[in-house]
């Protein structure tokens, strides 16, 4: 029997849960807090917590602080941290795990990034391919309406140079793809 309060117990399991969800070889528990990750990160300046800090919070069980942090969303998946980490922790994969947990629990503070990911995913699930124009339009109207005037030349430029397709392209095997994704979602939930 644990002598800890249920909430504390849950927090202590945070590290375990994130590592387990990331995969058996995430090596997250082996972090030595050296800070190489944050020092290598091109977007660290815009992160609420550098990866090192985030992992310290994880270890401390600061569940809310970790899941609401903008850090995983600002991660650009450039893998600098991953190739430099002396412990070979799969940092980008950990970031993906934290994003999916934040989405599942609605824990993020700002929805700009998670909405973008979700819109992207819905395009893929509907068409099987990304649809740049639809994605950009929906996303910018919702989150950056004030940026639109300064972006207009770019949009018009891309359209006039035929770099944006007006219509989405749907793959033939879209039903097959969705059967696969549905089964994968069941497996994920199991």
């Amino acid at each position: 029997m644990s002598h800890l309060a249920p909430q504390t117990e849950k927090n202590f399991k945070l590290m375990e849960q994130v590592a387990q969800k990331t995969g058996s070889d995430s090596k997250l528990e082996t972090c030595i807090q050296c800070g190489t990750c944050g020092g290598s990160c091109p977007s660290a300046m815009d992160m609420e917590h550098t990866p090192r800090k985030l992992f310290a919070l994880l270890r401390a069980g600061e569940r809310e602080e970790v899941l609401s942090s903008n850090t995983p969303w600002v991660c650009v998946s450039c893998y600098f941290c991953a190739v430099r980490c002396p412990q070979e922790i799969k940092i980008p994969d950990v970031m993906y795990t934290l994003k999916s947990m934040a989405v599942a629990e609605g824990a993020y503070r700002d929805s700009t990034a998670s909405d973008f990911s979700r819109t992207f995913v819905s395009m893929v699930e509907n068409y099987g391919r990304s649809y740049e124009l639809g994605l950009a339009t929906r996303h910018y109207l919702r989150h950056f309406p004030l940026r639109l005037p300064s972006m207009a030349p770019m949009g018009i430029g891309l359209l006039s140079k035929k770099r944006l397709n007006l219509k989405p392209k749907k793959i033939q095997g879209i039903k097959q793809l969705n059967a696969i994704l549905d089964r994968a979602k069941e497996l994920e939930a199991a």
């Binding site: 995969g23 091109p42 977007s43 815009d46 995983p72 600002v74 650009v76 998946s77 450039c78 893998y79 600098f80 991953a82 190739v83 980008p92 970031m95 993906y96 795990t97 999916s100 989405v103 700009t112 973008f116 992207f120 995913v121 395009m123 893929v124 099987g128 391919r129 990304s130 740049e132 124009l133 910018y140 950056f144 940026r147 300064s150 972006m151 207009a152 030349p153 770019m154 018009i156 430029g157 891309l158 006039s160 140079k161 035929k162 944006l164 392209k169 793959i171 033939q172 095997g173 097959q176 793809l177 059967a179 696969i180 994704l181 549905d182 089964r183 994968a184 979602k185 497996l187 994920e188």
Partner: protein, 344 residues
């Protein structure tokens, strides 16, 4: 001819068309036969992975399974987009560990009547395929118009050499493959230590300030070392630096005007192919001045001929009609000129 399965990726049908259009004739020239994987789907980029792990893996798994089923004598898969290449190699290597991930993905794939056995097909980025399988000697043999005097920055980006799941690159932070290739074309390759720094990835969409800063750093350094043109191997790098450069300028008060094209476009030029067949002219920051240095011209946009039998409708952004209504002041149309960063 060696035959390869071609996984284009979504950008190649849209924002990265110039890459697709140039790599096709270039590959034919160097003896690469590309067979497009029939009915391939999006690789999920960096977005699906952050929503649902197993479905994201299965999404990539479907492409691998289709490739395996359609291989028909083709040796390996080649992806020109670094993000697609990274995702394909990542899932292949995760499945090859045989620690349960392969079973999960195959379980999901079986719902669509598919399966994949990892390690069956090699997975290449187009650049590593050309450098290591075709070889720089073959490339040099085809050069008829060396890019002499053109100062190029070899911007390879992050997702090709990192995480290097397939162990193909000379270094994960300072790889030399693109330098070698551009050197083989006769170009003057500048020392560009930021070559694997991030272009901003999806940040223009979710945190533009971060993106502007990253784009600025890359372009600023390139300008400092007197680069004529940056060279990309990934449609996302090209898109971010090309299309968001104007917005970056507006935001940071800079005056960058650095063109960026795909390495296959420069290969085509060196092979003596026509600019219009290589997608030149589709970049927003014009490559005109740069390629003039080697005696090339960016093709002018073809104007549609007037249809003699059309009804007399006012042109929506018409030249004559609207211009007359602006008190003689020239109407500024949002055309190429402004998109190029005209607002200093």
């Amino acid at each position: 001819m060696s035959k390869y399965l071609y996984y284009p990726g979504c950008s190649m049908e849209g924002s990265g068309k110039a890459y697709h259009n140039s790599l096709m004739p270039v590959c034919e020239k160097i003896g690469l036969e590309l067979q497009e994987i029939d009915d391939w789907n999006c690789c999920g980029a960096t977005e699906y992975l952050g929503i649902n792990k197993i479905p994201a893996y299965a999404l990539i798994g479907r492409n691998l399974a289709l490739a395996e089923a359609q291989s028909n004598g083709a040796q390996d898969i080649v992806a020109p987009c670094s993000a697609c290449y990274l995702n394909l190699t990542k899932i292949d290597s995760y499945m090859a560990k045989k620690n349960g991930v392969d079973e999960l993905i195959n379980d999901a794939l079986s719902a669509g009547g598919l399966s994949y056995e990892p390690g069956q097909l090699g997975i290449h980025h187009l650049l590593d395929l050309i450098v290591y399988e075709i070889g720089l000697d073959t490339v040099k043999e085809k050069v008829v118009r060396p890019l002499t005097g053109l100062r190029v920055a070899p911007y390879i980006g992050c997702m090709a050499p990192r995480y290097d799941y397939a162990k193909r690159w000379s270094d994960s932070e300072h790889p030399l493959e693109l330098d070698w290739l551009l050197g083989a074309l006769g170009a003057e390759v500048v020392d560009y230590p930021l070559k694997t720094h991030c272009c901003g990835g999806h940040m223009p969409q979710i945190g533009p300030d971060t993106a502007y800063e990253l784009i600025h750093r890359l372009v600023d350094y390139a300008e400092e070392v007197k680069t004529d043109i940056m060279v990309a191997v990934c449609p996302m790098c090209q898109m971010n630096i090309d299309a968001y450069q104007n917005e970056t300028n507006q935001h940071l008060g800079t005056k960058h005007k650095m063109p960026i094209v795909f390495f296959t476009q420069l290969m085509g030029l060196a092979f003596g192919m026509r600019e219009r067949d290589l997608g030149f002219g589709s970049e927003l920051v014009s490559a005109k001045e740069a390629i003039q240095k080697i005696g090339s011209e960016v093709p002018k946009k073809k104007r549609k001929k007037k249809d003699k039998f059309a009804l007399p409708m006012p042109h929506p952004l018409g030249n004559g009609i609207l211009k007359n209504g602006t008190n003689g002041k020239e109407l500024i149309l949002p055309t190429e000129g402004r998109a190029r960063g005209g607002r200093a």
